[in-house]
Amino acid sequence: MTNDSEQNYRQLRAEEIRQLTDRGCTALDWSAVRVADPLVPERFADVEFVGQVRLGALLGDVQVEGGRAKPAGIYRARIEDCTVGNGVRIANVGSHLSGYQIGNHALIENVGVMETRKGARFGNGVEAEVLNEAGGREVPLFNALSSQYAYLVCLHRYREGLVDRLLEIGRRAANEAARDFGQVGEGAYVVGVPKIQDVNIGPAARIDSAQSLVNGTVLSHPLAVTTVGDGVMAKDFIVAEGTQVTGGAMLSKTFVGQGCRVGKQFSAENSLFFANGEGFHGEACSVFAGPYTVTHHKSTLLIGGLFSFYNAGSGTNQSNHRYKLGPTHEGKLERGCKTGSFSYVMWPARVGPFSVVLGKHTRSFNTEALPFSHLEADEAGRCELIPGHYIATVGTLRDGLKWPQRDRRTGPALRDILCFDVFSPLTVGRMVRGAAWLDELHKGVDRTVATVNAGGATIKRVLLRTGVKRYTAAVERYLLEQIFLRLERRLAGVGGSLRHLFSADAAAVDSTDWIDLGGQLMPRERWENLSNAVVAGSIETIDQLQRALLQIREFYEEDTWLWVRRQSQESLGFDLDCLTIEQVQGFVARYCEQQQKFLRLVLLDAEHEYDEGSRIGFGVDGAANDRDRDFVAVRGAFQKNSFVRQVTAELESLPARCDAVREQLAAIA
């Protein structure tokens, strides 16, 4: 950005005023127009200067689409109270360009009106009514809004002191954005927009053919370019770095976080989208769309709900028809859930992590204690649940692999702090409790009973035992895996005695319960400490909060390990500090066996996508054997599928990895 401290401005000379006037330029007061050297009058034509205007050196060219270049300068525009940087091109401003500080080499062309009014806040301070349309969980928008901050403010209303302080922090950050002048960042590109009012535009941003942008901020960075494209109408918004909002999207009181994609006429109101979210075609209303919330299809309405690492099938819908005193939705799909085509859930409801919801659920339920479950509505709209059905499936394993690979965020500051692990103390802890609950239900029910009720969902009695088995096996596999991975990492790097290998960082924290704070996993105690620090005032700015959260993230692996140590004792019955080398070698062998079994179950699940049922419709107009040939031509062979190859490779390499660890263990005996 060019400003007085960087640039020496001077008044225009009489000869320059004459030359500019000859080129159709006018000014109410030429003395209010100050320029930097060199001034090239040929770079101006038909410009109306109004108020205090500062002009940088308008030399050289500005690069535009398709590798073309256009000369810097100001042509056919009314410029009011603006500071224009070096090498800028402004052309064809229909009404006026007013109240902007325009960074070097920016391009503003074919805009109608572009103005900043005094005291504008650029979307900062707007409060989105998330989760409940009628309010009660408002989240203030501000440039540094993160998924973690928003989660705490939105969901933790029961901690009044905490939320008051956080709101104070957020509102202060929002107030700091208030300015009398808007910004157009260095190298930004603003073309073909009829109306821009009170909108900040970050460096290198591309605003191309948007329809109307009012009271907002387009954060951008040369390493994380943000695009606002064709036909977008946005009011009271903030769009973060590296995000694309295009295709006639409509935003109102909405925050779109880093690395998101919104377009194809998607509309969002009172909603928050965080890292790598995607919204196309459908509608979001009062939604907390945590990281990786994805909705791609028409007729899909997300309303009044909390989502993260979520995939919405076409026609997904939710509502709450019970309220008479104003809307109360309170839907919560915990991380990793999917909803099938035309599924419906009556809010309030809470779905445990990594579950799949199918059908029309017209009765509320809470399955938080039963992760990885299959939830299908029966004909009466009741939820029928199969516990732990998705523990060893292609979808679950693929999700865990793909999310880190699909993190589109770039640039210097990634605000949302993410933990991608599918199996973690959060989900495994739920399985520990889920197994205990199902076991209790199983023991307490007579064999003549067909189904039991669990949190409003129906479970067939025979599946209670299945659920216990699946959860128990998954807990054991996870714990053994963590032990194995620790050995594999530390035997090569750290070395030392078993006790030393298994010791946790002294600063690690252990809590039985873990929480998912907007995509960041942490022990409850860490959250309590953070919360207390906010209430006590030792965290009083958004930067301090972010630093504290990042510090917690740094301990994620060691906190996880401490949880694993304790849970191993509870679930597997051994104290890691009291094991012999031979016992540990035995656990490695046990892990190898269980992990191979797990991977084979995943492959078995993958095979379903190549079975008879999956081949229906292939080989149209061909002979009988053309069906399989057509299928292979389109889908390829099972063994050649990239995911299948990846899992197979892991399966095959596992014994050697386990042997290596056992040998290294023998060496320290």
Binding site: I386, K460, V462, L463, R465, T466, K469, K597, L604, G613
Partner: protein, 76 residues
């Protein structure tokens, strides 16, 4: 013979189909219309009926009634 009859009864009850449709040769998916989520219900129902604890990986690879009978008999 007794095992086969019990298997067929459990299959008919679990898949909610006419017991007469269930034959030795019936394949769960192709002939009886079992969906993937019902496979796990079948395994659970067999475990309860015969009071056995089956290996899930092996059990899910059983595709027909006659194979199920042979598979279960190994546990009895």
């Amino acid at each position: 013979m007794e095992t086969a009859n019990r298997v067929k009864r459990v299959v008919a009850e679990t898949l909610r189909i006419d017991p007469e449709r269930v034959t030795d040769e019936s394949r769960f998916v192709e002939d009886l219309g079992a969906e993937s989520v019902q496979s796990i219900e079948l395994v659970a129902a067999f475990e309860e009926e015969f009071d056995i604890d089956m290996d899930e990986e092996a059990a899910l690879q059983v595709k027909s009634v006659s194979d199920a009978v042979k598979f279960i008999e190994k546990y009895l």
